[in-house]
């Protein structure tokens, strides 16, 4: 694995650890945390892929909210705008500051 990927992966596992801590856990097994990190990465990639698929299916280049909705439905994730809003506005939301010096992804 190349170093920049490790950096991003580290941030993902930080996010997972923060979420685990947020709900009330004191600690977590490294296997469990690692699995959640892997799932996080997979779901992010898969959501991007599926959204892209629906955008291109409609003959467009620019993704729309409808494409994201279709991707969620296609992946079997409940479309829940109210829940998403509540989740995004929760008071305990941790924020990982953006790291400087991450190289831009290759186009």
């Amino acid at each position: 694995m190349d170093p920049p990927q490790n950096q991003r992966r580290k941030l993902l596992s930080q996010a997972v650890a923060l979420m685990v801590q947020e709900v009330g856990y004191e600690s977590g097994e490294s296997v469990a945390l690692e699995m959640l990190t892997e799932m996080f990465q997979s779901i992010l990639t898969e959501m991007g892929r599926t959204t892209r698929m629906f955008t291109e299916l409609a003959g467009r280049v620019e993704p729309t909210v409808g494409d994201v909705t279709m991707a969620l439905v296609d992946m079997g994730i409940k479309v829940d705008p109210v829940g998403l809003r509540a989740f995004s506005r929760r008071s305990t939301k941790p924020v990982i500051p953006a790291p400087g010096g991450l190289p831009l992804p290759k186009v």
Binding site: R8, G28, S30, R49
Partner: protein
Amino acid sequence: TYGNSNPDSAGFALSDFLVQLEDYTPTIPDAVANYYLHQAGFESTDPRISRMISIASQKFISDIINEAFTHCKLKAMPPAGGKTKVKDKKYTLTLEDLIPILNDYGISVKKPPYYV
């Protein structure tokens, strides 16, 4: 149909949520989310769309952890009628808690037959 103008029961649609993401900072930095989205071929000039995807996937993971915690707490509760009270218990996220929840979500996971 699931068009972007289709409101949910509360009359709040995903497109309404999108406009609220203008100045929003998700837990993971946009740069990191964009990297993984980019890897999948996803590209958008509108940062709100990728933020929405980032939040949706975070919620997915968070929901799983939440459910695992509820499970874990219920398991740790003393039997009804018992006088022993568990105070300040420290919980640890384990694979055993996580696996049944993931199976409920349709993700089949097995405990690896080795130590990590």
